[in-house]
């Protein structure tokens, strides 16, 4: 590093004056000062700014993952009666306790929650910064912003239509579809290894029953807990299927379990739950709904 030029006492005066004079030229004559006159002018905030939340009612499935992950416990689920969507559950946020960490936005499996650039939330009344789902609702927000999250297309199975014909498994070039027997039902179900899938859509085209459809999945930063099914405890009450927000649980008949009743007729066969893991969002609602310890979910609180 070369030695700095030695200044005489006039240089000590004139060099700073040159610098400040340049600043005055820039901020008074040519342009404007750097200050933003806040209440009248506002900064152009980046789209990733974490401000007040918005909620897309049509995308939200009411899985309550956001409520579970909230570190400040400032969200809650509210039961609503929507004219379009029927009886639904949607989250509300208490902005007085929110720390704007953005976990709820990141964990949302359908990207229904967003954080906007709106930051003027102060109010004299605490109740006015508790935003219920209706105050957060903005169904068109997602169309207006550029989506930041990674998403990819993935084939998703509708088990009601599937006949177990193995055509999809034969078609898959990556060999990522395997036909697995469902225990004590006697049917085969294609299980798709999602890490291998390249979204070539050949299985979707090949399916004669149109049971496979391509769907956009969002990659989450969080590890998703998976439900473990214990068959011997299951009574076939279908409480888990009703609780599941993503329709990932199907109730299927188990053949050979019909009992002969006193009048000689056969009863209906017992049912069991079948999980389609591509649809699962890991919310743990089935685990909480099950009263017979038939579902285990490590890492989820009861």
């Amino acid at each position: 590093m070369p030695a700095r030029k030695r200044l005489n006492s006039l240089g000590f005066v004139f060099r700073p004056m040159k610098r400040t004079g340049k600043q005055v030229w820039e901020s008074l004559i040519v342009g404007k000062p750097n200050t933003v006159l806040y209440p009248y002018h506002k900064l152009n905030l980046p789209p990733t700014y974490r401000g007040k939340h918005t909620l897309d009612f049509k995308k939200c499935i009411g899985c309550a993952n956001c409520v579970q992950i909230c570190p400040n416990d400032c969200m809650w689920m509210e039961k609503l009666d929507d004219p379009e969507l029927g009886k639904i559950e949607r989250p509300g946020i208490d902005m007085g306790r929110c720390l704007f960490c953005g976990f709820c936005v990141e964990v949302c499996p359908t990207v229904a929650l967003h954080e906007t650039v709106e930051f003027e939330l102060a109010s004299g009344d605490r109740d006015k910064i508790r935003f219920g789902p209706k105050e957060l609702r903005d169904d068109s927000y997602a169309e207006r912003i550029v989506e930041e999250r990674q998403k990819r297309a993935v084939p998703v199975l509708d088990l009601d239509k599937c006949t177990g014909c193995e055509k999809c498994a034969g078609e898959c070039p990556e060999m990522c579809i395997a036909m697995m027997p469902i225990e004590s039902v006697g049917k085969l179900k294609p299980e798709i290894a999602l890490p291998k899938c390249t979204a070539c859509e050949k299985c979707v085209v090949a399916c004669p029953e149109k049971a496979l459809t391509m769907k956009d999945m969002y990659e989450s930063y969080f590890e998703m807990p998976e439900p473990k099914f214990i068959l011997k405890n299951c009574t076939g009450c279908s409480a888990c299927a009703k609780a599941c927000p993503a329709d990932a649980i199907y109730m299927m008949d188990m053949p050979g379990t019909e009992r002969i009743l006193k009048d000689g007729k056969k009863s209906k066969p017992k049912k069991r739950a079948v999980f389609v893991m591509e649809k699962c969002v890991g919310c743990g609602k089935c685990f909480r709904a099950c009263k017979f310890q038939s579902i285990e979910m490590p890492g989820v609180k009861k």
Partner: protein, 375 residues
């Protein structure tokens, strides 16, 4: 028509008007009061009374001009400093006129605030310090003319007071004395250090300043502002005495105690120095007076070095004078917000080792120019 005859005419007209009413009132009352009414009316119409009142009107005009200039100076200072540091400066109070009313708003705020006298302070000195400071600064205005016909010290003949520049400098130099009184009587270590620093600073900077002024007196051959300015009709003294002008400006900054030399009221080390204990409008007066001294300094530099009111006749003389004073003030402010504060030893070094020889050299140049007969 100069300022004196103008105000004399105003007072004469007013006295005539009031005397008409006065005699009409006297006619209404019983005849025993007649003598009294006659005496009062005759005294009011006498030349001595009208002259004194005319001088009072002159003082009023000059002081109002000075105070308006002080408001402008504070505004320029804040606005210029803001733009220099890349922010807006005063903006919202008086939005249409660039935040000019902010000073008035601050003044009203200072009026409303409580004036606190410390329990252990010397009450007389504490009260007397601001009075001397403000009074002497206003008195320094008394002999500075804004134009050939526009000053307090002009009489009917138009000639100024002989030695008016000496009087202005004498009043200008009283202030450090009052600062020392303030610092001592506040009974606070910071104020005391500030006052003593002010005394040291005045000691070391008054001498080079007066030496440069002496060179101007030598060149002009007079102590009178009017004659000094008239001597600069062809060439401003700032051109042959450029060295002296620079020395004068630096000494002026030190005398007015603004930024590179604001050791007596150093904010960081002495918590506003000798003004620490003053609150409310007393502090406001100090602040206003420091800007008034800035205006006086600009006016002195203009009258002594920059040709006073000389300029193209398109603009009236007093306006020329004010324009030059404003330019000097802006340059001082520019230096103020660019340069860091000097240390005490550096201050004395600059004063005695640099400016003093330069002032002597300047005096030598002035003497040789005068001897050669060029001026």
């Amino acid at each position: 028509m100069n300022l004196f005859t103008f105000s004399y005419g105003i007072i004469h007209w007013l006295v005539d008007l009031v005397n008409h009413l006065w005699y009409w009132l006297g006619d209404l009352l019983p005849w025993e009061f007649g003598d009294f009414f006659d005496d009062v009316g005759r005294f009011a119409a006498s030349d001595a009374h009208i002259t004194v009142m005319a001088i009072l009107v002159e003082v009023l005009i000059i002081v109002i001009i000075a105070l308006v200039n002080v408001l402008n100076f504070i505004w320029i200072d804040r606005k210029f400093m803001g733009r220099m540091f890349d922010f807006y400066g005063p903006y919202y109070v008086g939005y249409r006129i660039g935040g000019w009313l902010q000073n008035l708003a601050d003044g009203i705020k200072l009026f409303v605030k409580e004036i606190i006298t410390p329990a252990k302070a010397d009450k007389l000195g504490f009260l007397l310090g601001p009075i001397i400071f403000v009074g002497s600064s206003f008195l320094a205005l008394s002999t500075i003319p804004l134009g050939r016909d526009f000053g307090i010290s002009t009489n009917a003949s138009g000639a100024g007071v002989p030695g008016s520049a000496l009087i202005a400098f004498a009043f200008f130099a009283i202030a450090p004395f009052s600062i020392l009184i303030c610092g001592w009587s506040s009974n606070n270590k910071y104020t005391l250090i500030g006052g003593l620093r002010s005394a040291a600073q005045m000691m070391s900077y008054e001498i080079p300043m007066l030496l440069t002024v002496a060179s101007v007196f030598l060149m002009a051959g007079s102590f009178n502002f009017t004659e000094i300015v008239d001597a600069q009709h062809d060439v401003w003294f700032a051109i042959p005495l450029f060295l002296g002008f620079i020395v004068f400006l630096v000494c002026l900054v030190a005398e007015v105690e603004i930024q590179p030399f604001d050791l007596p009221e150093a904010e960081a080390e002495l918590v506003e120095g000798w003004t620490t204990e003053y609150s409310g409008m007393r502090f406001g007066l100090f602040m206003m007076t420091s800007y008034l001294r800035g205006y006086i300094g600009g006016a002195l530099a203009t009258a002594l070095f920059l040709g006073g009111w000389h300029g193209p006749a398109l603009i009236p003389d007093p306006i020329w004078f004010l324009i030059k004073a404003y330019i000097v003030f802006v340059i001082i402010e520019w230096m103020r917000w660019s340069v860091p504060r000097v240390r005490v030893d550096q201050l004395l070094n600059i004063g005695w080792k640099r400016l003093m020889p330069l002032a002597m050299l300047n005096l030598l140049i002035a003497a040789s120019l005068k001897t050669l007969g060029w001026f």
